[in-house]
């Protein structure tokens, strides 16, 4: 398989690397304390001192965006990790072994797709109790398991009867070895784009939940919560909403381009 980079992949990687760099930077250093208020610097427009301006408390928005995207990216990454690992495990086992467990799990899966992802996350969060970062991660993580399970199940089922799998089985390889070493790498062309899409859905879902006030709550800023703050002062400080919104869009756009590029790589590899 010859790997050829394509434009989408490169553009996506550039955008994502820049944003990831800024986000990681935000964990260690921000120009100002993101929660420090300053009566003298209320509602200042973007300037060299405050790149994205300040809000109604005189807080530096650039620092807040860095910190907020740190929270959002952290939650989204954990969510995708839970969804992908658990979903792949379920999908791999059901796709490989088939049978009644497969039937039951897939019917459950069908029913779960009737819930829009945010609705399901809201149900889980109302059970766990709103307002905590861990609960948001668990809620969204659970929500993303079925879609990963469905996807990997199809991928595993489609290569289950290939000759090389049969050979491995005849040579005495155990199921775990076959699943992990022989099959998993061959489903990566499906799994990797799915992870990028999952990450994007997680960013948007987390932002929506925090926007609604039942996700992450202050003092932990997340991009969604900041947007809901920004809506109230849009007339006086439009830069707050714009910089926060653009940060979300660019995050999702960059990772989306990577996914598009990976998908095309996968398609080329098939032929």
């Amino acid at each position: 398989m010859k790997k050829k980079m394509n434009g989408y992949l490169i553009a996506g990687l550039i955008i994502t690397c820049i944003l990831a760099g800024l986000t990681i930077l935000g964990y260690f250093y921000t120009p100002y304390d993101p929660t420090a208020m300053s009566g003298a610097a209320k509602f200042q427009g973007p300037s060299m001192a405050h790149l994205f301006g300040t809000d109604n408390f005189g807080r530096d928005i650039f620092s807040r965006v860095l910190k907020g995207s740190g929270t959002t990216v952290f939650i989204a990454s954990c969510t995708v990790l839970i969804g992908a690992v658990a979903g792949t495990a379920v999908g791999a086992v059901t796709g490989y072994f088939g049978g009644i467990v497969d039937d039951i799990l897939m019917r459950m899966n069908d029913a779960l797709t009737a819930f829009p992802s945010i609705l399901l996350a809201l149900v889980v969060i109302s059970i766990l109790g709103p307002g905590s970062e861990l609960n948001v991660i668990i809620a969204l993580g659970i929500v993303f398991i079925p879609s990963f399970a469905r996807l990997t199940r199809t991928a595993f089922a489609s290569i289950r009867d290939r000759n090389y799998i049969e050979s491995a089985r005849l040579m005495g390889a155990g199921s775990a070895r076959i699943l992990l070493i022989h099959m998993l790498p061959n489903t990566l062309s499906v799994l990797l784009p799915a992870i990028t899409i999952g990450f994007n859905n997680a960013v948007l879902a987390e932002a929506s939940m925090s926007f609604l006030g039942i996700g992450v709550t202050p003092p932990d800023a997340s991009l969604g919560y900041m947007l809901s703050e920004a809506q109230g002062m849009f007339a006086r400080a439009p830069w707050y909403a714009l910089s926060t919104g653009l940060m979300i869009i660019l995050l999702v756009f960059g990772v989306g381009l990577i996914g598009e590029g990976l998908q095309r790589l996968g398609k080329e590899a098939k032929y």
Binding site: Y8, L119, S126, I214
Partner: protein, 316 residues
Amino acid sequence: MKSMLRRVLMLLATMLIVSFLTYAAFELISGDPAEAMLGTQATPARVEALRKELGLDAPFLVRYARWLLGFFSGNLGVSYSYKLPVAELIAPKLAVTLWMCLISFIIISVISLPLGVLSYQSAVGRFGWLHTTLNQFFMAVPPFFTGILISWGCGVILRFFTPGDFPDLHADPAGALRYLFFAAVCIAIPRVAMMLRMMRSTVISEMEKDYVQTAISRGNDRQGVLVGHVLKNSLVPAITMLGQTMAEIVAGGIVVEQVFGIPGLGRLLVASIANRDYPTVQAVVVILAFWVVFAGMAADLVNQCIDPRLRLGGES
């Protein structure tokens, strides 16, 4: 006919599972509603009496059956925080949310179906990358962000509507629908991008098929084949996808209602979650899930009208 019947049975089964999952989930956590209603000061005897009165002493499955029967006869229980029947609470909001979803659905269909087919020529051409990039970009735009921009631009500046002042749906239907239209646009933008992306890949793979190549080699022009043959064959997956979009519209609607201050099910849901008002959450979740399942079935039925193979129970 037979396949339609099977579809309806499957719909009922899905609805049953959906409602059961929701009911079970909330039963597990909500603890004892009797205690919740009486507060911590209540004597055990009073709690026990109320439990009997509410029918909470019955086994789980019996309670579920009662709740489900109640649900279909319009008795959704009593809200903890408003002390009102949930049905009364939901009825006026249901119409608002359904209208918003419907308008958004119409916008998505009207824009993406024709555009998906018409943009084929330029999407496979030299500027194909631009289509893909724009698609990815618009898919990244969260509805609540466009909501902030539109409610400011079209509401505060252009005064098409007054943000935060939702007209009554019965007293001023035109004003209410106009208000809902702007919210629906915000939900529709990323969905249109997603539809276009999916339509394009369908049309492209359809154009590679033998019958298309035959039609073109016999002297038909590409545009004619596209509209005459490919359009109809691409319609089935497109309509399936449109049906699935309803889930995303509902999800977007929950947030957009908050941005625009629309008194719909989404805001009720969020408020009820914050107040731990489980009967209301339960009812709203099941209603929204039913609406999504129903949209999926409607899409299937439309497809059976378009594609005779599906009517006979085959695969498309």
